[in-house]
Symmetry: C2
């Protein structure tokens, strides 16, 4: 499959690298083609890896991952262009962490809205699925570190969620561990979990954890 | 031990009943002594159970549970009186769910503040510990339903957290399942988890669940 990955940070490079390993053609997108991190990743990630602008990557992808910081995701996706997102599954991995007011970070949007919803409103023709934002990048693509733990998906398009479920399975997430928490407003829940996640990381002394459902 | 339980809802009655079963003397507090629910509980809960105003219950307790709705907790505690809370362990079980804007509920405070912090600021001489607000009432006092799952505590007073840990153990929470997530600002995390909890309840079809840490 051809996949666009928007964002050159840890999450973007980790997901893009995994996708190339799985045999996909992946174009990493950034603010401008030729971005240093994008070029570095593309030159080292092997065959099938390329880089370009947000618009290049979104246009290239049959599926698009948003791995940009949540507070700027809508802007980044505007640069990607609505015409390059229309009809496509858009997997939103972002978190709206705002470090500008010091530590601990607050969320740039929460409570009655979320980044997932902002994106779906701004790009009504994209099939937005929120996923993977509740674990660190390493676990996203290697859930064997946290066997039996849960990964959330939400979105308004059931077929899109099913496609994302298959992608997650290819990452190593068993179908039974994928929990569909409803429409895209469920992103409020998975994004507002971040402050607890950060506290848990502090208490456990590692970001290498996840939560499981017990009932 | 003499314990005051503020609030006559499901959480208050469940916790108060458990405490009586454990042999404590418990006074349930409400807006005014003689409250119908308070009297009903006290008359049925057996020896050691009594009821009164918020101030009666807080004055009675060596330890005080806040089981009032989070959006009105500070008001309820003002009625209880700072002099009746001073120096005492005050276990805040509340959640700031606001149903006034329709479904899903939003939080009446979040992101850069929390009910736990509001209470600690308003009553600086109380030893506030946030606990138990991440599970439903039935599980709070019967964690055998969700063996191996986690219960969070946070607060500024380590000795108070240790006392709460002992109370939680008497409820059935093994010490290893109690996770201390730091100072009282950790309440932002455990309160902001609620929107995800509500979505999980919807997806699982039951409030009878909890989360476990996997690492």
């Amino acid at each position: 499959m051809r996949i666009g990955v928007l964002g050159t940070g840890t999450v973007g490079t980790t997901i893009a690298t995994k996708l190339v390993e799985l045999g996909h053609e992946v174009k990493m997108g950034s603010r401008s083609a030729g971005n240093e991190k994008g070029v570095e990743w593309a030159s080292g990630a092997g065959e099938g890896a390329s880089e370009g602008s947000f618009a290049d990557a979104a246009s290239f992808g049959e599926v698009v991952f948003n791995c940009t910081p949540g507070a700027v995701s809508v802007d980044a996706l505007r640069m990607a262009g609505p015409e390059n997102l229309s009809g496509k599954v858009l997997i939103d991995v972002s978190n709206p962490l705002d470090f500008s007011k010091g530590m601990p970070p607050t969320l740039s949007v929460c409570n009655d809205d979320s980044v997932g919803e902002q994106i779906q409103r701004e790009f009504p023709d994209a099939r937005v699925v929120k996923a993977l934002n509740t674990v660190n990048a390493s676990i996203m693509v290697d859930p064997s570190q946290v066997t039996g733990s849960v990964i959330f998906v939400c979105g308004n398009d059931d077929a899109a969620k099913a496609e994302v479920g298959e992608l997650l399975q290819s990452f190593g997430w068993p179908g039974d561990d994928v929990l569909d928490v409803g429409d895209i407003a469920g992103a409020r829940g998975t994004e507002m979990y971040l402050p607890l996640w950060l506290r848990m990381m502090g208490a456990l002394g590692t970001p290498g954890f996840n939560i499981a459902v017990v009932r």
